[in-house]
Amino acid sequence: MEGTGNREQGTAVTFELNPAEIRMVLPLEQGGRKYRVTHFVRRPEYKELLAFRAAFARTMERINGAAVWSDCREAAAETLWNAIALRVEGYTLPEGADSWEQILWRELVPVSHKLLAADLFQRIGIVKPEIEEAFPLGQKSQTVYLEVRRDGLIYSNLAHVLREPGTHHLKEFRRINDTVLHVGGSRSDKTIFPSHLAELCGLYDELIVRVEGYAIDGRAPGDALEIAKWMDALHKEAAVNALFTPAVMIEDAAAGESEPRQ
């Protein structure tokens, strides 16, 4: 069962940006059997996440008029996992082995489990609002609320207060996203979607004012510089994406128009 780290519900659990270890519980069903394994990993370094995303190498080809997508997520996840894994639980030792020290357990953990763990790392959502509010005009900052699952807890209301972006920032965001690579000479119009993690993190560092719901070694983060240094790169990316791509629900807008006005 997962608990909640939502401050609004009074538990006041903050998301630690410098944890000693991260526990990831993976419930699995395989071949008619049910398993529950636990991976203990350390926080990935920024450069490790950059390498992970770079190794992901998402590509698209047009084959018979259809877009065919591929990537190297297994290899990328395996490299990252092998680097950050500290120990595992819920696995039995292979025959003939008496202790974990005797075996190269990192190599024995199935790639599919590593992939699942890497997916969990990347699962950062935007909080789904429950109530409609009046949009504040003339604001100098915007707040983005993220939701993350870790250590069996759901951390919602992780707030990122960012400066109101200017035209320059919007232009940069679009430029970053519209930069994809063409593989010269390919008949199938092979396109590589490079990782934009570093650039989006740069944009975040420019815009961040303060955060709520986070902690660095148990204390609240200080100024923007400290946040830029400690904030998880994947959280930065999610916050910037949420800031620049507001979800406009056309169907909802149409439905809203038909409702009687107060």
Partner: protein, 144 residues
Amino acid sequence: MQTVEPSRDLNALAGFLPVYIERAVSQAELGLAARRKALRIATAVNPERERNRDSNPSRDSYGAALSFPVPYAFERWIAHLAWLDQLSKGIELAAAGLTPGEAQGLALLRQAREKFWSEHTSCFACSSVNLRNAKFCGDCGKDL
């Protein structure tokens, strides 16, 4: 294999821009034709006959000829340049801090567009795009 970043390969960009513009016009033309057909069906005495009428085959072959793909990476970049061009009508672009690739690409986009309109004109009656030296509109037949 060599990877190409559209913002840096200006020669390739200059080559794809006319194709992109012609294709965009062709798609807009197809949209216009569909709209005209819908209007005709709405006002026709026999809507069924109007609905079943074959579309202009010469225009279809024109559209098919232009389905030659501009590489997706270039499409994305040209769309970005077109957005910048649109943006420049409302604000001073210098304030947005263009990169060299954006500035050069924008200049190429504007050149290609000017060249296209120096060779084409739109019909005053139905807005179809025709060659500039055409005597009458290829779609509605009005004198140009």
